[in-house]
């Protein structure tokens, strides 16, 4: 994959159709450029005040429909993502890790077993000091039903990436709370909505729904009209909430 991707480096940046406004000219918007320029670029965003005087006649809407070159305009596809950081971790983890870029946003797909180490490395070695969000997606038909996402941002690098992994129903993940305390509530919400457990979380309980609620609403097999009737009857004294 790494070798292939090298040949594809050029298309990847300009394959991102960013026709309008000043986006392309800003130093290193996270995720739009493979960050070859990791450290130098990181300095720039601190002083981006200089307004781009006139953006070259920023793209009529029509331009949006004909994004530049190789990627098919109708269906953008994930491209390989290459950067020194990616190379380093590819070497280290081999096939357990895949790095791709979709519409200019970079993400790692990582094997479940690598998660604790990899997240720690991202924080300690790569300065991803801010955990933007942590969430999950349910695919009931897959063998590994859940995809869990960490959206990470690095202030020094001004770069945003995603890390995703797949786990089966009932499988747990290590809590990221020791890495990013913000994961406290975020993990509780994932647990609340999907029933994914996080080992080592100090207080893993429901956060938005009542503590005694049964079922995990954001799973796909939980119908939108479904609710915990028993809870409603006991606590609200009505037959049904519908």
């Amino acid at each position: 994959m790494a070798e292939e991707s090298k040949s594809q480096v050029p298309p990847s940046p300009d394959g991102e159709p960013k026709p309008a406004t000043a986006k392309p000219s800003t130093p290193a918007p996270a995720g739009t450029t493979p960050e070859k320029t990791a450290t130098p670029a990181a300095q720039k965003p601190a002083a981006p005040a200089a307004p781009k005087p006139d953006t070259p006649a920023p793209a009529k809407p029509a331009a949006a429909a004909k994004p530049a070159a190789p990627a098919k305009p109708a269906a953008p596809t994930p491209l390989p993502w290459t950067s020194p950081m990616v190379e380093k971790y590819k070497k280290q983890y081999g096939s357990g890790l895949e790095a791709q870029s979709y519409l200019g946003q970079n993400y790692f797909t990582v094997d479940r077993s690598l998660i604790p180490d990899f997240l720690r490395l991202l924080r300690d070695e790569e300065q991803f000091d801010y955990c933007v969000d942590l969430t999950a997606v349910h695919y009931p038909k897959r063998e590994k039903q859940f995809e869990v996402f960490w959206i990470l941002y690095s202030f020094p690098r001004n770069e945003r990436i995603r890390v995703k992994t797949q786990i089966a129903d009932g499988e747990s993940l290590p809590s990221s709370f020791p890495l990013w305390p913000t994961a406290d509530w975020l993990e509780r919400e994932v647990y609340d909505m999907f029933g994914i457990k996080f080992d080592g979380h100090p207080n893993l309980k429901r956060i938005l729904l009542p503590d005694e609620w049964e079922g995990f609403p954001l799973r796909k097999d939980y119908d939108i009209l479904h609710q915990d009737k028993k809870w409603v009857q006991i606590n609200l004294g009505i037959e049904s909430g519908q």
């Binding site: 960013k18 000043a22 990181a42 005040a49 009529k60 202030f155 956060i207």
Partner: protein, 397 residues
């Protein structure tokens, strides 16, 4: 971003993970009883100073706060589940109901996220309209914050001043799209409505009207002895803690981190405008007050530049009638008045989002409450809740 590294971070809790933050849990604590001087009280969910239905359980020693636990979810409507059962277009009005005092920002974030997923961009004229309305909304949102925050602390006058002046913004919204609060001003691909005749004049009149009002607010509060006593060194949050807790928006900036998504990862056409990112130094309630006040002035600057440069042209990009993004996932975030508002959308190629996740700034910022009030007085809890600037509609979604 460098100033972050060089900065000596005052009063940083070095290891947040080991400090027992926000999981004050009587049953689970090492001594499952209260000392005779300790007290547990319940603040909310029906309490005028919790800005909605927030319940905070406080553990007190006399007047000193030993720990807090937030109980949220009273306003949970399952917005993310609703999204999975609506088309992209149908879901658009729902986002206004999250942070209902900054509905325009919510709409902007959502529309841009879907546009990104569709790989289209709004035309320049639409971007100008978007920026003007969003910045007006930022002012309106900060006005509500200022009024209610000051009221909580005991200054009643600012509430009337800010609501009076906010009315002028709402009038512009109403004239533009017919709604004052849940505006649904933008559509995927641009804006639905062309500017009404006299829009520019209204906006310019507003700026001319509003800037002196800012001085009026500041005259009431900035040098006010009571205000300073109640806010200085109250609810301190160091830069390191703020980052670790994922705090964004004015709260992060007040802690001295110069980071604003409008500058760091520009969206719409913010890169074309000249404005500053105000920052604070101590990360206390007073600094957050100053930062937000400065932000309102900066918003005026942006609006002024934007309103003088609105280009001619279409206001809608070419968007397919049926919105059916290709399979893929996207995260897009904007600088909402309260912080980073992000939308993470997974498309399975159908007309409905397979999964739509909202990254709400208020929800994440509220986590910092515990750190901020520990060791302070119970009266400061009210000040700190006010300074976090939460909207429970967004916390609970």
């Amino acid at each position: 971003m460098n100033d972050l590294k060089d900065k000596a971070l005052p009063n940083a809790v070095t290891d947040l993970a080991s400090s027992p933050s926000s999981r004050f849990n009587l049953e689970a604590s090492d001594k499952p009883y209260l000392d005779s001087n300790e007290l547990i009280i319940n603040m909310g969910p029906q309490h005028p100073a919790t800005h909605g239905v927030l319940r905070v359980i406080l553990k007190l020693d006399g007047e000193k706060v030993l720990g807090t636990e937030c109980v949220i979810g009273y306003l949970h409507r399952g917005v993310e589940k609703i999204a999975e059962n609506r088309t992209y277009t149908m879901f658009n009005p729902y986002v206004d109901r999250m942070d209902y005092v900054a509905a325009v920002s919510n709409g902007l974030g959502y529309c841009q996220a879907v546009e990104k997923l569709l790989n289209i961009e709004a035309p320049p004229r639409a971007n100008f309209i978007r920026v003007i309305l969003t910045e007006l909304n930022r002012i309106a949102s900060h006005q509500i914050w200022l009024g209610t925050h000051a009221l909580d602390i005991g200054a009643m006058t600012p509430l009337f001043y800010t609501f009076r002046d906010r009315e002028e913004i709402l009038k512009i919204f109403e004239k533009y799209c017919g709604a004052r609060l849940t505006t649904h001003a933008f559509r995927i691909g641009g804006c639905q409505y062309e500017l009404y005749p006299g829009f520019e004049k209204d906006v310019k009149n507003f700026l001319a009207f509003f800037l002196p009002k800012m001085d009026e607010y500041e005259a009431l509060l900035t040098g006010n002895r009571i205000w300073i006593d109640r806010t200085k060194n109250v609810g301190m949050l160091s830069a390191r803690d703020a980052i670790a807790l994922g705090v964004t928006g004015p709260m992060l900036r007040a802690s001295g981190v110069k980071w604003d998504i409008r500058k760091a990862i520009p969206y719409a056409n913010y890169a074309d405008f000249d404005f500053e990112i105000p920052i604070g130094q101590n990360g206390d309630t007073y600094d957050r007050y100053l930062v937000r006040m400065q932000e309102m002035r900066q918003s005026c600057r942006i609006i002024e530049q934007a309103v003088n440069g609105i280009p001619e042209g279409p206001i809608m990009a070419k968007v397919p009638k049926v919105i059916k993004p290709a399979v893929g996932e996207i995260y897009h975030s904007i600088e909402a008045p309260k912080g980073e508002l992000g939308y993470f959308i997974v498309s399975d190629g159908s007309t409905q989002p397979y999964r739509l996740r909202v990254r709400p700034p208020s929800f994440v910022n509220l986590q910092a409450l515990d750190i901020m009030v520990r060791g302070q007085l119970v009266a400061d809890v009210v000040a700190v809740i006010g300074t976090i600037d939460i909207v429970l509609g967004e916390v609970d979604r």
